[in-house]
């Protein structure tokens, strides 16, 4: 794919710049020109060009080498090719020393330019692919990788950025499937611990004794089957971050052990006598109401306060419906290439179904629904029919027989539900209820309904 890469040609002679631009455009590249070093630097601030062709000799105070140095300062990843009419060894050496990738003498063979650009673009494509693969492989997601336009989520991402480089413990709350681990990874990979490990442990999936050895490691012979000394997750996360998912599910004993690690930053391996010191940042997550668990005596309050230094509460998908189209399109793009099916997009009718659905399983459920639709579809663009399976889920509750209630109460309930779902947005709620705005205003007043 060529069109993704943009090229800037910097030459004070317009005919020179334009003829090279025309040549490269015929090759499918998107090409701009600039007539001076200053103009080039200004353009490079706005656009991230992949390749710069810079004429060595330009009037107006900024020659090719100076222009290149400024561009390289602004855009260290860009490739600069110096063009000159006068080949001298000195200028060639100077240009290469300052970071020019290539040096060409005009007029040059057309083949030379084509090969040169092809070669640079090939390397850039490989770099990009490598970055993407690495991201997929290691799950190194930064806050930028989280897809949202929702104001509440934006505020969370701002908080993620702010706390990324702190050492403080973070407690992430949210229903399952809302992306708690993604937020945890974003905190880790956006901060200064990014190059150190991110170790995730799901506390709910392991029995107490197993979880203990998993977290703290064990010495050889500590228990039957402990054949060799093994490091625990806390040790593996030294210098980095340990992510304790579903922290609300751990036993009282482990709660005590964990508290000790959080307070003293040291612990013993199972069966070990040597104290081990670690520097691991702790991020915990839960879908439970931990404060409630504390009140009921199921979770230690001292551990709760240790964990809850910074609290991030991730909203369920039903409260950020505006993100559903972005997320759905993202999943279509990613999953269609993963599954290997030629699906280019998602139709408006399908999006409407997704917007109307309640998503109790949140983003994970949305991802699974998109995957199911891609697998079963015969279309290039996903349509409403491909999400037919959601409809049966939607209609489920409608069949439930309602107890006899005054019609007015039903109306009030429907309006409250609609306003709740649209977070008080009258226009959207009216559309959902199939009445116009003024009618909705009247009814809100009549029933004395609170708009959040």
């Amino acid at each position: 794919m060529k069109s993704r890469w943009q090229i800037l040609i910097v030459d004070d002679e317009e005919v020179m710049a334009e003829s090279l631009a025309a040549w490269l455009r015929e090759d499918g590249y998107s090409v701009d020109t600039a007539s001076s070093g200053r103009a080039a630097v200004a353009r490079s601030r706005e656009t991230d060009y992949a390749i710069y062709f810079v004429d060595l000799k330009m009037p107006g105070g900024m020659d090719g080498i100076e222009t290149m140095m400024e561009i390289r300062r602004l855009r260290p990843d860009a490739s600069v090719i110096i063009i000159t009419a006068y080949a001298t060894v000195d200028t060639a050496i100077a240009a290469m020393k300052e970071g020019a990738q290539e040096y060409i003498v005009k007029p040059c063979n057309p083949e030379e330019i084509s090969l040169l650009v092809d070669r640079i673009i090939k390397v850039k494509n490989l770099q990009l692919e490598n970055q993407m693969l690495r991201k997929r492989l290691t799950g190194q997601y930064e806050y930028r990788d989280i897809i949202t336009k929702d104001a509440k989520m934006q505020a969370i991402l701002e908080l993620v950025r702010d706390v990324a480089s702190l050492r403080s413990t973070v407690l992430i709350r949210g229903a399952s499937g809302t992306g708690k681990e993604l937020i945890a990874r974003a905190i880790h990979y956006s901060g200064d611990r990014a190059s150190a490990p991110f170790v995730a442990v799901s506390c709910a999936s392991l029995a107490e004794s197993l979880l203990e050895s998993e977290l703290f490691g064990y010495e050889k012979g500590a228990f039957t089957g402990a054949a060799a000394q093994t490091k625990g997750k806390f040790e593996l996360a030294d210098g980095g971050t340990i992510f304790l998912d579903e922290i609300g599910d751990i036993s009282p004993k482990l709660q005590a052990d964990l508290l000790r690690v959080l307070q003293e930053r040291r612990f013993y391996r199972l069966g070990g006598t040597a104290e081990i010191q670690v520097d691991a940042r702790v991020i915990a997550a839960t879908n439970k109401d931990l404060a409630g668990e504390v009140r009921e005596g199921r979770f230690r309050d001292d551990l709760y306060y240790r964990l809850n230094v910074i609290e991030i509460s991730v909203p369920p998908l039903s409260q950020r419906r505006g993100d559903i189209p972005h997320l759905a399109r993202h999943f279509v793009a990613r999953l269609s290439s993963e599954i290997g099916k030629n699906v280019d997009g998602i139709g408006e009718d399908a999006l409407k179904i997704l917007l109307d659905y309640d998503w109790p399983g949140n983003i994970r459920e949305l991802e699974n629904a998109v995957e199911r639709a891609i697998v079963t579809t015969r279309n290039r663009v996903l349509c409403a029919d491909d999400f037919g399976f959601l409809n049966s889920l939607l209609r489920g509750p409608a069949n439930v027989a309602l107890p006899p209630v005054p019609l007015q109460d039903l109306e009030k309930m429907a309006i409250e539900a609609a306003l709740g779902r649209t977070q008080g947005n009258i226009k959207e709620a009216a559309a959902a209820l199939g009445i116009d705005r003024s009618t909705l205003y009247e009814k809100v007043k009549k029933y004395n309904i609170e708009r959040r």
């Binding site: 003829s19 025309a22 090759d27 499918g28 005009k106 083949e111």
Partner: protein, 184 residues
């Protein structure tokens, strides 16, 4: 019907001109009009390079295009250049009206070989298809046998067919249809 004009800039032998005429009418369905031959623009010759500036040729073509013509195709025997490149087989306005092909480096004689008219005409056809494709907005095609493949050497010109690959052919058809609708 869409109109395309052919013009010889400097001397161009008759077989080359009629080859172009046949190609534009049969392959693209143009009504073809031959304009009177004209001398190369005075400013086009570069003494130090002993070559002709394609930019000046193109400016001239754009200027003389009759109002009713959707394309103007220049043919020349002069050796063309643009400032940054050492030579050109041809040039076109991407998605525009004007295109230009030089026979200078398509001739066997340029490389010290015996003349071969049939080969010359085949190469001319390929280059006309290529430059016409550009005026229709097509960019280079990765298929080495397609006329839209970039060729910077004669070997590459000879490698490709005097026809488009399927996707390029479909694009040409689509854009020619759009052109016909515009004309109506």
């Amino acid at each position: 019907m869409k109109l395309a004009c052919i013009v010889s800039v400097g001397f161009v032998e008759e077989p080359v001109l009629s080859e172009a005429e046949v190609l534009l009418s049969q392959e693209f369905g143009f009504e073809v009009e031959r304009l009177p031959a004209r001398p190369p623009p005075a400013a086009a010759f570069d003494v130090s390079r002993s070559q002709w500036s394609a930019v000046e040729f193109m400016k001239d073509l754009v200027r003389i295009r009759p109002p009713g013509a959707s394309k103007i195709f220049g043919l020349t025997s002069d050796d063309l250049f643009v400032p940054v490149l050492s030579f050109l087989f041809g040039q076109a306005q991407l998605g525009g009206a004007a295109a230009l092909v030089s026979t200078a480096r398509l001739r066997q004689e340029f490389y010290g070989l015996p003349s071969n008219q049939e080969l010359l005409l085949t190469r001319v056809r390929k280059e006309i298809l290529h430059e016409m494709g550009h005026t229709l907005g097509l960019v280079h095609c990765p298929d080495r046998s397609c006329a839209m493949c970039l060729s910077t050497s004669l070997e590459q010109v000879d490698t490709k067919r005097d026809g488009y690959c399927r996707p390029c052919g479909l694009s040409v058809d689509t854009r020619m249809r759009a052109l016909a609708e515009d004309a109506e």
